[in-house]
């Protein structure tokens, strides 16, 4: 009976052909390393976020009189397993960003952004950016002290740029207007909460869904990259590839299960970090908490912003890092791929990795003059990484030519 139904569908949609082409006949390199699993893990976390988010949206009220209580009373106490879904959603947000960062560093390490995969990287960057905005908007919704003051600081960045050298007049004139436009008024109130809610639950997830689909399509279209950094000729080197299903799906499936085990360890037993204590105090516009710092996934950018003495140049610096990340495929034009075969790039990758981590950890520390100096030092190292890429590429073009065009 089931077979007949599937036959009926297959005759009209050719799903069996699609399955055979995309799952079995689609070949992937055999030598893919463990970090290649992060893409699938990110996809799983995205699904977790959407499912738990749908449950939460049923009980959450986007009105400032009720927002805090609907999160902490209705969801945490009244609804059966409401606590579980809130824990999943809060931990999921952190895991999502963590996995996305790991995925990005993997991509940089194996140079997965190079020809023919530039578009994969660019769309991935847009996903990352939209994800940050989604995280920021979602952070306001519980309407606690951290939510409120975190958003106040973020929305007032445009108004604080009046120390810009030439653009002083411009920022003085429009800075505050932009800030008010983002907040929906001079104060963060129902208008802002409603906007952030709408963006967080409807528009941004839809954009993410579309972008993730395009990203996956592009990965399939360009073919998956390779840790060794050369393109495998699937026809002439059949010993180096394996069918996507079951070779790859089962491997990634097993890793995904173990990832979920770690994820649920945090959900059930360790939520102190993902539901920070300060956010269990309802938002109070008259009381600024002593430590306002963004969530860990923004701390690197935050540290760049705050360690540079001028607000304007701090703003320029952290936006420049984002833009340079976007332009990575064009900064690094070397024909050689993968850090495995590029010693100079490997060293600069380590510099970049450690500077990003150091900036994040510095962001959690008290803003002392020493820490600001350290912050500027590591910011300089991050820029050094991006600036070194064209130089390394230039050298490697020379070596590539000298070896007669062989990598």
């Amino acid at each position: 009976m089931i077979k007949r139904i599937v036959d009926w569908i297959d005759e009209r949609t050719h799903v069996r052909d699609l399955y055979r082409e995309q799952m079995v006949e689609y070949k992937v390199p055999k030598n893919l390393t463990f970090p290649y699993v992060f893409g699938v893990l990110a996809l799983i976390t995205f699904a977790i976020q959407i499912i738990s988010g749908i449950i939460l949206i049923m009980y959450y009220k986007p009105v400032i009189a009720h927002a805090f209580d609907s999160a902490n009373y209705t969801i945490m106490r009244e609804i059966s397993f409401g606590w579980l879904f809130r824990h999943i959603h809060a931990a999921g947000a952190n895991f999502f960003l963590a996995i996305v960062y790991l995925h990005m560093f993997t991509g940089i390490y194996y140079n997965a952004y190079k020809k023919p995969r530039e578009l994969v990287w660019i769309v991935g960057w847009v996903i990352y950016f939209v994800l940050l905005v989604t995280a920021l908007t979602g952070y306001l919704l519980p309407w606690g002290q951290l939510s409120y003051w975190g958003t106040v600081v973020t929305t007032e960045i445009p108004a604080s740029l009046a120390d810009a050298p030439i653009l002083k007049g411009l920022f003085g004139a429009i800075g505050e207007t932009i800030s008010i436009w983002m907040k929906g008024g001079y104060k963060l109130e129902d208008l802002a909460l409603g906007r952030f809610f709408g963006l967080h639950v409807l528009l941004l997830p839809l954009i993410l869904l579309a972008l993730v689909s395009i990203h996956l399509f592009l990965v399939r279209a360009a073919g998956i990259s390779n840790p060794e950094g050369y393109e495998i000729d699937k026809k002439n080197e059949p010993e180096k590839v394996a069918p996507f299903h079951p070779y790859m799906t089962l491997k990634e499936g097993a890793f995904a299960m173990w990832y979920l085990a770690i994820f649920f360890f945090f959900v059930f037993f360790y939520m102190h970090h993902f539901l920070p204590a300060d956010n269990f105090e309802p938002a109070d516009p008259l009381k600024t908490p002593p430590h306002i710092a963004p969530e860990w996934y923004l701390l690197g950018f935050y540290e760049v912003f705050r360690s540079i003495p001028s607000k304007f140049w701090g703003f320029v610096a952290f936006n420049l890092i984002l833009v340079l990340l976007l332009l990575l495929p064009f900064l690094d034009f070397s024909p050689v791929k993968s850090a495995r075969r590029r010693p100079l790039f490997f060293i600069m990758f380590l510099v970049f990795l450690f500077s990003s981590m150091a900036l994040t950890v510095l962001g959690t520390m008290a803003p002392t003059p020493t820490n600001a100096k350290l912050g500027m030092f590591f910011t300089a190292l991050v820029f050094l990484f991006f600036l070194s890429l064209p130089v390394i590429s230039f050298l490697e073009w020379g070596w590539y030519k000298a070896r007669g065009g062989r990598a």
Binding site: F264, F268, V361
Partner: protein
Amino acid sequence: MSTWGLVKTVFFTAVTVIFFFIIWIHNPFAPHEEYELPDEAEKIIGDPKVAIEGRELFKQNCTSCHSLRYDGIYLMSVTAKPEWSAIEKAHGKPILEEKDGKIQVRGYFVPRDVYEAVAQADLQNLKASFGKIPPDLSTMYLARGAGYLYNFIMDPQKILPGTSMPKLFYPEYDKEAPQKVAKIVAYMRSVNEPPPGEKAKRTLMGIVTIGYFIAMGALLWIYRKRLLAKMGY
């Protein structure tokens, strides 16, 4: 895997694990305050049975200024209003508890806007006396922790100099003062933590879920090994 490959794998794994340990689990660099809790107080706060007594102490000592809406406790001056019990029933949701096998209403959870509208004059009076409206204490245990609350109630000026919160418990005159404070904190804890039975259920659920995923991962891995051997990879 070559030696160099092994070195890189171990190195990158260690760096990732250490990084996430620092930012998610224990950050020795971030500034944080520690409040000492005497052993006796810790024992009382950890005992869920004390909560009933703590609730009465809370009602007697704290409700002239503070409400605890998540457990149906409101300002004394508000609950004394003749219309309050009708408002509670009309706008609030009953908070149920099980006592001697019977389910009964412990109080009502009244939405914030309704409560603040009814208590407008009382809250403004408090603001006039203290400079700010004393906060609702529903989630204060989660926000500040047992150590802070115990030390703060024992001596508010020591923990937060300049605060308008008065000192209510004097160990010099009342030998039981430290126990009373601990019982109040124990009550605030009981409001914010699931009861012991529920907690045990959640722990069990967590262990089963984690066990399930570890086992499924292992099964998939074994299945893949066998399948690939059959296919000749």
